[in-house]
Symmetry: D2
Subunit: 491 residues, 4 copies
């Protein structure tokens, strides 16, 4: 018999799968030299980049190749671009996470004719091997994992402030790049045809600029496209809530009592997943319509106070602040897990836990035990930051939808005739969302039905979409409640 009884290998291999685990092989040297102080060249002698270690390029290339297999829409765009180059002449400066998926986007933009320069939008998120692979392929990339704040702006500046090269398109994620140009090189906007922005934060900034009359180029809001919303929220969270909880706590879902605060798309995804895994789920809501949906979907609608003593897990998905207060935290039972799936880290009042009588104990990465004087401990995940981004991974498939939308938005803005787009923030038309969706259907071997001419006529639709008819003009009174006569009767 064997010394490795096959049924007994429970803990054989501690499980570690970050987005880019190859790092473990190649980063072991723990090189402490700042990339800014190194002299590096790629194999073609080019040195217009700044990455951790150009020698890691091969590892990064493999990850890019794997990602390409799950990003069929971008690969399809590349094929179409073999003849025509819709981005010929485009000079795109980008500031996003530097990952294998971003690399597939950048190389697609290249294939479409664009020149690109790129920095990271986050000081920790860069995958050094991927940055190396891009630098090796000739992309001027300025990014590494663990930048200082000074490094961060230095990298952005190196993308923008180049002799003999001036960007005419911006692809931003968070608005830092846009901010930098506004602040340092406002004249640059004269040549810039537009901005494509992905994040909630960045879009918010753009609307503020627009409101203030300071937006000086057209901008595309990619964040609010239907496909992104639906996928990033409902479908992605349905999976990442389970993944994030498992990786941090190894807990069993079956039989656990959970309260989910907020029943928007994110909350719906979380609730559906946990219900399916055998948890008993309670929901809190402020909006009566979402509340009624929660009821019809089979969840008890409660106020947080009513269940806080009994639940095993508290999950916030409201976009609101102080949804879980210190008072709630005081009343939770021992071992209660608290985490946030919402838009920001304000939903749980984590600051209120930083008081002398409570002891914090970091038990695992992203897992803190906060211990009350009587020994009660609650399990706080990711310090109240987003669980799905901190403690689980985002499937390439979802990133593919966003990246494709970004590419299409860049093409649109770049090719639009002068004057078509004003200095305002634009949402992609439904047809474009439909197009992005259609590019992803082959992944599922899904076969779309086409309207016959007769049916299209009957429905009053173009056979190629968009497929939501526009029969009615919707007239609403202004949303000011007082203007609505009946309110005086009702309240």
């Amino acid at each position: 018999f064997s010394k490795f009884p096959s049924s007994l290998s429970y803990f054989f291999t501690p499980v570690f799968y970050s987005v880019f685990p190859a790092a473990s092989y190649t980063d072991s040297s723990d090189d402490e030299t700042s990339p800014r102080d190194k002299q590096q060249k790629n194999s073609k002698g080019n040195s217009d980049f700044c990455v951790k270690n150009i020698k890691q390029a091969e590892f990064g290339r493999r990850e890019i190749e794997i990602a390409e297999q799950e990003m069929p829409a971008l690969m399809a765009l590349r094929k179409r671009a073999q003849g025509e180059k819709p981005l010929a002449g485009a000079k795109i400066v980008g500031c996003t996470h530097i990952t294998a998926q971003t690399a597939v986007l950048m190389e697609t933009l290249g294939a479409l004719g664009a020149q690109c320069r790129w920095a990271a939008c986050n000081i920790y998120s860069t995958l050094n091997e991927v940055a190396a692979a891009l630098a090796e392929s000739g992309f001027p990339v300025f990014a590494w994992k663990g930048e200082s704040e000074d490094d961060f702006w230095w990298c952005i500046d190196r993308c923008v402030n180049v002799e003999g090269w001036q960007p005419n398109m911006i692809l931003d994620d968070g608005g830092d790049l846009t901010h930098w140009i506004y602040k340092k090189y406002p004249n640059m906007f004269k040549k810039i045809k537009g901005i494509v922005e992905e994040s909630v934060t960045g879009v918010h900034r753009l609307y503020q600029l627009s409101k203030a009359g300071k937006l000086c180029v057209p901008a595309m809001n990619v964040n609010d496209s239907v496909t992104k919303q639906k996928f990033d929220n409902l479908y992605c969270c349905r999976e990442s809530i389970l993944d994030g909880l498992k990786r941090t706590t190894d807990m069993m879902f079956g039989g656990k009592q959970v309260v989910v605060c907020g029943y928007g798309e994110v909350g719906k995804g979380c609730c559906a997943a946990l219900k399916a895994m055998g948890s008993i789920v309670y929901v809190t809501e402020i909006d009566p319509i979402c509340a009624l949906q929660a009821c019809m979907d089979g969840f008890r609608l409660v106020k947080l106070n009513e269940v806080i003593r009994q639940v095993d897990i508290v999950i916030t998905c409201t976009g609101n602040k102080n949804v879980v207060t210190r008072e709630h935290l005081d009343r939770m039972k021992n071992s209660c897990i608290v985490c946030n799936m919402g838009h920001s880290n304000t939903e749980i009042d984590v600051a209120s836990l930083r008081t002398p009588e409570l002891t914090w104990e970091r038990v695992r990465s992203q897992v803190d035990h906060v211990i009350w004087p009587d020994g009660k401990r609650i399990v706080l995940l990711a310090e109240g930051r987003l669980l799905n981004l901190s403690c689980s991974t985002v499937p390439t498939f979802v990133l593919s939808i966003t990246a494709t939308t970004q590419a299409l938005a860049l093409i649109e803005l770049y090719n639009a005739p002068e004057g078509r787009y004003k200095q305002d923030v634009y949402l992609l038309p439904k047809k474009m969302d439909e197009y992005v969706a259609s590019l992803h259907l082959p992944t599922f071997d899904a076969h779309l039905t086409e309207l016959t001419d007769e049916q299209a006529k009957y429905l009053g639709l173009n056979k190629n979409g968009p497929f939501k008819p526009n029969y009615y003009r919707y007239l609403e009174l202004p949303r000011n409640g007082e203007a609505w006569v009946i309110m005086s009767f009702l309240h």
Copy 2:
């Protein structure tokens, strides 16, 4: 021992539960006299009505009382109206189905101060006992089950054409009443403050009038309110697809292969229910976004042709026409069930089955076997009309949402200052939907959370709603595909 072994009573009692089965007790006389030829008075000597048999009033009253228990929102409105009478002076002429739920609505309108006169919007749908109960309570009701077309218009006319009484509000369901006034008494519109219309068909007619510049009073489109849409479609169909199939065919759902054509709200409800009952569900779609949702929800997206030979059930929910053609019907396997949950009876090309080589056999009410020359038979339900309306019942709870919305719309239009509403079709504001929803939450013992002042400020919301922020102006180019530059690249 017993001659009625308790475990063996399978078929003991044939199951019959229409909406108003009491009919069976009281209609047995099979009175053939037309109500128009009868002289009837209610117990107070009033004869301003025309119903089948005033003596059935007691049976009807019981049904109304039962319905009241499930229509908490209307009962709440009655309570509020004990002091103030927001419909005092209103003269409402109505044309709807005459059911217990309608009776609760009518009596609520009365409690709010309105005078009402009422006819049926459908020649078969009147519950005679309920009509009798309303007549007994003093409502001028003109309706019975089994009207002729001539009766139908006679009844409507009796509501409108009254000496010394002229309506100032219209509540319509289908547009027939509105049509009649337009045609016969156009001058009446001078005093009419507005129309409240519930049905798809009626709303469509109003928009056409509006487009043609012929709408001469404001109208409220109740059909497209969020709550009605969500409840009538997703949640109601989730239950009625099962109910309709069971009552007509007694089939077992487990293991059956089903194709659902269309993945809008109705299709989503049907698919979810059948999947939950163990059916294997395929979906067809024309819109890539709905198609991708179907994929993510776990349904194979196919063209109808690909699965037509293998499925046990075909369900249409598209709103389109000729989705199931004769060619499809020819290829279905023996015993395949075909039915429609969509907006009209055009989805299945039933006409194409009226050919000499096919034999029709009516095996049950609403169930036809269509038999091919080789003996193959398909099971056609409700002759392709709406299964959920023909072969299942609509829960009072759903009707309650609609009735409440109708009442609120009447109050609003009646009380609006001159000039606030133009001669156009209005949609209810989201806040009103939220209000209707909130009135129905107590049914589920559901407890809504209230925003703190701090949270409301943080979100930029009024504490009383509406709860969807309105941050952004959404700018879209016209939906004309050609105007979108990228299209020339993509196609």
Copy 3:
């Protein structure tokens, strides 16, 4: 436009679908003559039967043909029997429900070579048209709907007490036929090769006879076959709980709070279905193992008292008695629905509601309102009898499994060599269950995998099954708790 607006046909057709609605066409004559007083002959001049009206035969034949399509296993047995007649010489006397499905079984037995005589096992369950069709085909059937108790035994006697014909096999459902022969014609057992019994009650009686040493022929317990149990309970109840509630109350499931008493197979089916439809389900249990399963499946495990005030529906599935007591009933909220899915009508203490202060109101067939002095009413379904049998229908597919098992058991007993079976009650071997299951797989176009020789050897299995290996001898101490040493420590 039309007087039948297509979208408005809600109540167009009152819904009525019993198992055999054709009755409505043919029974309208309301013939009051007792069948025993009629002289009837079938078209071949045969008069050895007693049914309501031989002229209804054609209607019955159609129902039988429809049933044949859903009973593929019996039809497959008929085909196999074209050469060999495994029941040649068998003289089977049967006493079951007389339905289309039974007719398919009887005609299959005939095709296998048997002679049959048949009576009904329930005075109400006979479908007269089916009885007529069988009589027309030459089967001596003695049954009609609405027999008196005297009729009941007369019919059974007519099957058994025939000159020149003596049964050698019994197929019973409930044990009444067996009882009659024991009581009146005990000598008949000398020629009888065996009994096949389907019902819980009948099986119970047989075990009692066996215990008492009075069972004088071998008997097959068909009731406890795996497939029957699994299908009759879990899968069938998963559908019939919804069907039964809808047909009786038209209620909406979404958001309703339900308590299910008992989490055996029936309870599991009910809970799964209601959860899927959006109800919030609580479970009560006495067995900790089932209780833990309920927890892991996502149901709150409670005592009935804890939730009785808040639930909308109470469903019993325990097999126990007085699970719902008058005290519980007193505490239920207004409009609470109470029904039973368990083994008998003892689970709800209905008798306790027959007190003077409570008013009973029959609002529909199978639906009573019981009204408290303060006006509270509860909705009692089927007077506490089995909801699934009283208020829904049993799918042919499930009946097919049972009927096939009955046919196989008859064949086995009839062909067994003398002495193989003792005077005891036998359960069918797992292999037979597997065989019945395999005959039903084609219905689902399901393709079974076959073991390779190598795999069969590896698993130690015969390639044709049975597929549960029998590695271990399970040794347990007697179930007497005290014999288990640890008990003294634990308690």
Copy 4:
């Protein structure tokens, strides 16, 4: 604004959560000295142990304390034992995984009065910090992560071969310890009262010994207890299939096509989870009864060949061998994921992939790409070993059920009077399973209902269980198909 935009922290923290991540803090010294060569003492000067590093004890203690919170049943046993010590005098030698959960079991056995000596049953699974904590508390533990085969047996021997101490009970997991004593110290069995064995493999060996007449003490088969089976298989796999796939591949489940081979408890769990996450699931089966269940649960039953070209994931759960052959592997599409959830690593013919034309690439821990000459790659997880054990963690709650059962079995065997248990393998009685289950109900705040005296009598049950009545004697013919007469007709 911030350089850490909160919404952008995707990859901020690579995710790593093994069962005992604290290892990363304390093992960094990468001490290469073999523990066998070290001189270590705990704080009380005791040196009767051999672990990696006694200084890690504090870290291990924290993990043990966390585990205690999720093992309420063992903690309850400790409380009961404060007076009585049911294991006083017991000398238990154990060989299991050394984890925090095992530590809770060992310390419970200690609290019950036992002396323990312990070794690891797997050379990789020991958590060094836990071993250190146990050693610090005075338990003679001989185990570390990364033992050689020689180390493995040395450790076992150090537990058994002690001067002045001889075990009288064995707790084994896999049978290695039992094997060693049989081989080296057969005389020891004279004093041993019994063996408690947990694993499939170990139980199999015991039955073989028993069959061969060589089992010389009674043994308890803990593996086949109802609770362990149900929890380890259905409920645990329902969660671990998702966890294992996510941690290894970061894939999205929605819309993926999956084939699950085998529909036993493990397969049922996998199918339910994947269906709930939006995958489209096909099932293969050899047993018609399980096959019919799969159909009724909504899965297409196919042969593997029929879907192998189209699926994205292949999961084996059969317990069989060569279910996925090289031929299947050759036909899979690019990027197909292949993994095993079954009993051993034989289900996928991994050996067949070790051929020269295929390239293996280790892309992550436990993840291999196998690359065909044409570039197609399949993703093989854990080299075909058990995914749930290799790539996910087992929830403490499940381990708690097993550990409690082990403790109870030890108490029973130790306290049984001479002669009660023979030299055979015993299964725990249902009552014991019920007891273990009941100890775990408080975790879910689950409230069991108690039978009234009247109900217990009605059901013929003891109020304290066991709750499955034993009415019938089940007589089956021997399972030899040929003995069943009907078989000759059927085949």
